[in-house]
């Protein structure tokens, strides 16, 4: 005969919420959540109450009013009669422009410096160390201001180009003018225009540009196909056909023919009135911001690249060398592809940092989204809450898009594991 009794049914006591490890963590999490929500609620209430007291109900109506101020660097049509929304958009494009230029340049400099820091050449390696340490240990704002000051003080004013015996002359066969207001470079012009594509009523895109991008895209796709065929042939026969000349032709010729058809020519800057006219004008503020952000972020990227390379065991390099590969081939075929999966995640953060740091643009008067929406618009309309919220939303969106794209790329290059 066996007498089993069920274990006594557990009665739940309130004290168990604190003393029982099964419940304790949940209890504290709920408490914390409630506290956060309360704080959140209090802040909202407080803000709403205070704004109400001031008689300023949140409203985004100001975005439709005319801005009234001018912006110097604009990638789309804009005049002082345009709306605040459009001014914000001009600023957004300026932010994206400097962020894209900065990310590209920082990556190039960063990879080169990172690889050179591991160079066997003592002098080169030490020079790169000095560069990295100097740039990443001084706040980026200082670099931005310094770059601007150098550009303003060291370069000649446009008036120095004037007269029969000018103090300053244009560089590179009279095609580039470097002044203390910015750099004027030749601009691409077309004598035949295919017209503009209207998106809604607000935006026009040149069909010329779209056509060139389309042709270039198709060319690149074909070139890739040629490479793929060459790879297949190499796999099958062990011999790699020579393809570089066909690829080059496929990429260059169609675009060149299209450009010729459109009547492509360069417009050169020339001195007219107070300033140079014609050509593409890269303002001091853009150059200073771009340079400073690139050099600063490149120092971090260099360290990331170095870490990525060092993460690949020397056995790999030695094995590759034993197979008879040369140094640069070892780097590009064996080390870098593996290093990439170590490099990319921290690289994402650097891109995000650079983009967010671009909001320091106001220090040099670069009209990015911080300068337009959260600067002048805020000041002229007095809508602090609305503009700052919008601005944060914009930066959040940009950052999430960058993360998304980089994560997608990371998934492509990461080690496939089973």
């Amino acid at each position: 005969m066996t007498t089993f009794t069920d274990p006594p049914a557990e009665s739940f006591k309130l004290s168990m919420l604190v003393y029982d490890t099964r419940y304790r963590s949940i209890t504290f999490q709920i408490l914390a959540l409630v506290a956060v929500l309360l704080l959140f609620g209090w802040l909202t209430m407080n803000t709403a109450q205070n704004l109400n007291d001031l008689g300023k109900e949140p409203s985004f109506g100001f975005l439709g009013e005319s801005a009234g101020y001018d912006i110097n660097q604009r990638l789309i049509d804009y005049s002082s009669q345009s709306t605040h929304l459009r001014a914000a958009f001009v600023g957004l494009l300026n932010t994206l422009l400097v962020a894209a230029m900065g990310c590209a340049t920082a990556t190039v400099i960063g990879v080169i410096v990172g690889v050179l820091r591991l160079s066997g050449n003592w002098l080169v390696a030490r020079l790169m160390t000095v560069y990295v340490e100097i740039f990443r240990n001084v706040p980026v704002l200082m670099w931005i201001v310094l770059c601007m000051a150098i550009l303003i003080e060291a370069m000649p004013a446009p008036s120095a180009f004037r007269g029969d015996n000018p103090d300053a002359t244009m560089k590179l066969f009279d095609t580039i003018a470097i002044t203390n207001r910015g750099v004027y470079i030749p601009e691409p012009l077309f004598s035949r225009s295919l017209g503009n594509l209207h998106i809604g009523t607000a935006f026009d895109i040149s069909i010329n540009l779209l056509a060139i991008l389309f042709v270039l895209g198709v060319s690149l796709w074909i070139a890739r196909d040629i490479t793929r065929r060459a790879n297949a042939k190499q796999e099958a026969t062990g011999l790699r056909p020579r393809t570089w000349h066909t690829r080059l032709a496929v990429i260059v010729l169609p675009t060149a023919i299209l450009l010729a058809f459109l009547g492509f020519h360069l417009g050169y800057p020339e001195l007219k009135g107070f300033n140079f006219a014609g050509g593409t004008y890269m303002r001091n503020s853009l150059i200073a911001l771009w340079l400073a952000l690139s050099l600063y972020t490149a120092a971090f990227i260099a360290e990331i690249v170095r870490a990525g390379i060092l993460a690949i065991s020397t056995g790999q390099t030695e094995a590759a060398a034993a197979l008879g590969l040369r140094g640069n081939r070892i780097m590009s075929l064996v080390v870098l592809p593996q290093a990439m999966r170590v490099i990319i995640p921290p690289l994402i953060s650097q891109y995000l940092n650079l983009t967010k740091n671009s909001s320091l643009a106001i220090a040099v008067g670069y009209m990015d989204i911080t300068g337009t929406l959260m600067g002048i618009t805020l000041n002229q309309t007095g809508r602090e809450l609305e503009t700052v919220l919008l601005g944060m939303l914009v930066y959040l969106t940009i950052s999430l898009i960058i993360s998304g794209v980089m994560n997608w790329y990371n998934n492509r290059v990461k080690l496939v594991e089973r």
């Binding site: 101020y69 303003i152 203390n180 107070f274 008067g365 000041n379």
Partner: protein
């Protein structure tokens, strides 16, 4: 992530909305100091001198209000603000009074919710160019690069003026007067535009002021005045009547030199006696001592004295009284009666 950002935004907004609406006079008295918003440095209007003491025409208003309210012209905490930060500073309660050559406009009064307590300088927007540029009129500035302080009315006037005259220009946005000076002197901009008084003050600090000229065109009305937040009428009254006291004092011939004597031995001019608190008790009506106006006048002198000492013709800035003369002398400076 979303939540964090939103929380951050609300914190900012919460702080910005801050303590607006409270009784400012009580706050100032409890604090024992007046928080006064001024420029980051515009010689003659507000700039620290060699000893780090703030001096200038706008600073004089701050000191007069501090003297009227607290009895001590030194009880002022000066908060330097840029054209961009000034309104946030005032709206958030960081400063009690903004005396920063700010133009009185409809939208600032109505939309930004500020009360202008009067006009202490009638100004207009002008242009300064290097003499070497050979320009004699603003109409010849087509295509010029113009340094302009962001977040100001001058920025909007500039856009309007060039549009009206069908001219192009390249704006170089800058934050502070010092930045503008650097860019202008280096030739990074051809023209510097702001209020004519500000241009004169800036030019006075140049190494060779004679190499620069102000163009004859004045393209806007810029009535500059101190301002406070909407919603505290008593505080607005105190500031307004302090400014009026300085103006009336000049009209009535009360100066920092004779105010103390006139208060000690009241004469037979009832308006002077009411102003100096020896007859009636105007001060008590808004919660101040009866000698508030005397203290304000003793702080830095009456309106005329402040003008002459800081920006007048005997200073390097050398501004004539012009529109800013008393109404009895053909100017626009006019105070309602003390009665």
């Amino acid at each position: 992530m979303n939540k964090t950002v939103f929380l951050g935004a609300l914190t900012v907004a919460g702080l910005a909305a801050g303590i607006a609406g409270a009784a400012t006079l009580d706050d100032v008295k409890a604090r024992g100091k007046l928080n006064c918003g001024v420029t980051t440095g515009l010689v003659g209007f507000a700039a620290p001198d060699a000893n780090g003491e703030w001096t200038g025409f706008d600073v004089g208003i701050c000191r007069a209000v501090a003297a009227a309210v607290l009895g001590d012209p030194k009880a002022v905490e000066f908060v330097p603000t840029t054209g961009k930060t000034r309104f946030t500073a005032l709206a958030s309660g960081e400063v009690d009074l903004l005396a920063r050559n700010t133009t009185w406009t409809f939208s600032r009064d109505v939309d930004l919710k500020f009360t202008f307590i009067g006009i202490n300088y009638y100004d207009g927007q002008g242009f300064m160019v290097p003499k070497a540029l050979g320009v004699s009129s603003a109409k010849e500035l087509d295509g010029a690069t113009v340094c302009i302080q962001t977040g100001t009315t001058t920025e909007l006037n500039l856009a309007d003026y060039f549009r009206k005259n069908n001219m192009n220009y390249e704006p170089v946005p800058i934050e502070t007067n010092a930045e503008a000076q650097q860019q202008f002197l280096a030739g990074a901009c051809d023209v510097y535009t702001t209020d004519a008084s500000g241009l004169a003050a800036t030019r006075a600090t140049f190494e060779n002021p004679a190499d620069y000229v102000l163009l004859p065109e004045i393209i806007s009305k810029e009535p500059l005045g101190p301002l406070v937040r909407h919603g505290d009428d008593e505080w607005a009254d105190i500031n307004m009547w302090t400014l009026n006291a300085l103006i009336s004092a000049e009209e009535l011939g009360v100066t920092s030199a004779n105010a103390a004597d006139m208060a000690a031995a009241p004469g037979n001019n009832p308006e002077i006696n009411r102003l100096l608190g020896t007859e009636g008790s105007l001060g008590a009506m808004f919660g101040l001592s009866d000698d508030w106006a005397k203290n304000a006048i003793l702080a830095g002198g009456n309106y005329g004295e402040l003008f002459e000492k800081n920006i007048g013709e005997n200073t390097p800035i050398g501004l004539a009284r012009g529109l800013n003369a008393q109404w009895t002398e053909g100017g626009l400076i006019y105070s309602p009666p003390f009665r």
